[in-house]
């Protein structure tokens, strides 16, 4: 039988896990990780702060300060785990939901709000942070990541690119082309798929009938499924994949199996398409609670530490709110900036005409 898959006769997907939902530390033959107490506390802090940023942004949207927000609720571990696996020299290509990765890349959270507030399409310096701008067109950024990785290759550098994308994105031609390019050129890129089970209202079955990490094998590189709510496992698995990439072993795919706890965005109403039970069962797998339980149990952190982090989170939230409200609206003429890097007669003409038009009001000509 030369067919690789006989229909339905698949072994169940394995899941790399290092920390159970109950906060128990378990071993995995292939993925080990040895973190200091400080590093472990750091991960907890990241998770809590990132969730707080997200909650504050949701609140800001509810109060009309943002036009929209795409919440990462439930995906903190996938993002912090993978984000903390990156070195400064690695380059990350996010979707619109990677606020936790942005945090790890030292992007000031207020800069994440710009596009959701409608003051810009992307506020931070992608070069300074080695964190690309949010990409909204599903899947496009995976090709950018591969191209960037081809650049790393040509530079002879020891770094890697990582492409973030969702379960829905796996259906896009671009993502599949990215897989092909990466494997043909053996590019130093990690495909990090956060399978949060939903693409807006569409459940995973609308995109695939087998576990997503198995796609990778079909393109000739390794795929692994990791517990996306387990920050340690996400860190370990991503570290390994990045190390492989940096050392010339080519691409891999990571499927972080997680769950979108909230709505797709603040515009969405998930009660129309999914049952509450599902959400409840995933609450038991919360990415933060298990770390907290582990830290407490193992004596690495105690209540006073948790309280301090909560306080820091509250201050972060307050600060974010304050600075969000203080964000200046862009000037009308900014519309014409940066359309081209070099002078462009048509844009210059339109800019001039529009400035004159606006002026005509101020001069009371109308």
């Amino acid at each position: 039988m030369t067919a690789d898959v006989s229909r339905g006769a698949q072994s169940p997907p394995e899941l790399v896990q290092l920390l159970t939902p109950e906060g128990e530390r378990i071993e995995h033959p292939d993925y080990d990780i040895d973190l200091t107490a400080e590093e472990l506390r750091g991960l907890y802090r990241d998770l809590v702060l990132v969730r707080r940023i997200d909650l504050e942004a949701v609140a800001l949207q509810r109060q009309g300060e943002l036009g929209l927000w795409a919440s990462l609720l439930g995906q903190e571990a996938a993002q912090v785990g993978s984000g903390r696996a990156l070195t400064d020299a690695d380059m990350a290509f996010p979707t619109y939901r990677e606020h936790g990765v942005a945090w790890c890349r030292k992007v000031d959270p207020v800069q994440l709000l710009g596009m959701f507030r409608g003051v810009n399409h992307g506020g931070w310096d992608p070069v300074e942070h080695n964190f690309h701008l949010y990409t909204i067109v599903i899947g496009s950024q995976t090709l950018h990541a591969v191209g960037y990785a081809m650049g790393i290759q040509r530079d002879g550098a020891e770094s890697a690119a990582i492409a973030y994308f969702g379960d829905g994105a796996t259906s896009q031609g671009d993502v599949n082309e990215a897989f092909i390019w990466a494997s043909v050129f053996n590019a130093p890129v990690v495909f990090f798929c956060q399978n949060n089970q939903w693409a807006i209202s569409e459940p995973l079955e609308k995109q695939t009938r087998i576990p997503l990490y198995r796609r990778a094998a079909g393109f000739g590189f390794p795929g692994v499924r990791v517990d996306g709510n387990d920050v340690l496992a996400c860190l370990a698995v991503t570290r390994k994949a990045l190390a492989d990439a940096r050392s010339g072993q080519g691409p891999s795919m990571i499927e972080a199996f997680t769950y979108r706890m909230g709505a797709h965005t603040t515009s969405d109403d998930p009660t129309r398409y999914r049952v509450a039970d599902e959400l409840e069962s995933w609450k038991l797998k919360d990415p933060i609670e298990r770390v907290k339980a582990y830290l407490a149990k193992s004596g690495i952190a105690d209540q006073s530490y948790f309280d301090a982090i909560d306080a820091e989170a509250d201050e972060l939230g307050r600060d974010l709110r304050r600075r969000c409200l203080a964000m200046p609206d862009p000037q009308p003429m900014a519309m014409f900036d940066h359309v081209y890097a070099e002078p462009h007669a048509l844009v210059a003409e339109e800019r001039e005409q529009y400035a004159a038009y606006l002026n005509s009001f101020e001069e009371g000509a109308r």
């Binding site: 409608g118 399409h121 909204i136 067109v137 693409a199 807006i200 862009p330 359309v339």
Partner: protein, 327 residues
């Protein structure tokens, strides 16, 4: 007569089309239980089943490509593109296959595929959710391109689009989805305004204003405002963008001698250029002023806090009217 929003009129029009012909299918992202992000397909999957209202994988080329296959098999798929800016992954299937296959087959294949695209800005959205890509399709021979501007047209035109044996790109003015009007859902199709014609939506004597989709309302407001200054503006809702109802347009311009074209898409290389060139050629001796255009700038659609500057509004349209009368 029922009072309907444009979105609801679309919904009822689609429902009627599905009832009338079992070959009509609806396909797209999130159109099933969610009813589409604008609820245009609300309730249809519940009533017509998952085989006729198909939540597809997340890939626009796949949506149009499989719709073409379904059409070859005899179905009449209506595809939803979730937002204007997401039609581009499907550009190849639309331009090289959907538009050209009927001719390629020397007429042996008909492709009655409708591609619905909510379009335009003004809803405070993030990037890619506010664009007006009609010119990419009006330039593509083999496609019919239409835009509805009000609930009555939404209800009738979507049914005409589904019945058409040609591929139709169907633009819906997303910021007008919640505008209401009286719609007669019992009217007979042969009483409807013909599919590929425009309509004078306001009579006038001094200047012809051409608009379509979301800009029709703006044009009417501008005409009303101009009336207060004693200027009589005729407003034409083009409705069909390829072909355009040139007899209607030129008749109006010959009468008024002036013309302003309004669309949200960037002016440069947009549909307005075609209309201006065509009108000028056909009405050369009647024009008192050059045909003027008001539209988006030669920039990507700006962040939403600037969109009021980017989108043609009452003032910018009136400014063009003033300029037209300045000749």
């Amino acid at each position: 007569m029922t009072t309907l929003t444009l979105a609801k009129a679309m919904n009822l029009g689609l429902r009627k089309a599905m009832e009338d012909d079992p070959k009509v299918l609806i396909m797209g992202e999130d159109i099933g239980k969610l009813g589409g992000v604008f609820r245009v397909t609300d309730g249809l999957q519940k009533d017509f089943g998952e085989d006729r209202v198909i939540d597809t994988p997340l890939a626009e080329s796949g949506i149009i490509g499989t719709a073409i296959g379904l059409a070859i098999r005899g179905y009449r798929p209506v595809c939803e593109i979730q937002f204007d800016g997401f039609v581009f992954p499907a550009a190849d299937q639309i331009i090289t296959q959907l538009a050209k296959m009927p001719l390629r087959s020397l007429g042996k294949l008909k492709l009655p595929v409708v591609v619905r695209i909510p379009c335009g800005g003004g809803i405070g959205a993030v990037e890619h959710h506010s664009e007006s890509p009609e010119a990419y399709f009006t330039h593509t021979a083999g496609l019919r391109v239409v835009a509805c501007s009000n609930p009555v047209d939404a209800y009738t035109m979507i049914q005409q689009a589904v019945r058409s044996d040609d591929p139709v790109i169907f633009f819906e003015p997303k910021r007008r989805y919640w505008d209401k009007a009286e719609v007669d859902t019992s009217s007979a199709p042969d009483t409807w305004h013909p599919f590929d014609t425009g309509r004078v939506v306001r009579q006038g004597a001094d200047l012809t204003m051409l608009a379509y989709g979301p800009m029709v309302k703006t044009a009417l407001e501008a005409a009303n405002a101009a009336a207060e200054e004693g200027r009589s503006i005729e407003v034409v809702d083009l409705r069909s963008l390829n072909p355009v109802d040139m007899p209607l347009v030129t008749e109006s311009v010959r009468k008024t001698g002036r013309c302003v074209i309004v669309h949200e898409a960037p002016v440069y290389s947009g549909l307005g250029g075609e209309l201006a060139a065509r009108i000028t050629e056909q009405c050369f001796y009647n024009l008192e002023a050059p045909v003027l255009r008001v539209g988006g700038f030669s920039t990507p659609y700006p962040p939403s806090r600037l969109e009021e500057h980017y989108l043609p509004d009452l003032d910018r349209v009136l400014d063009a009217v003033d300029r037209a009368f300045g000749y």
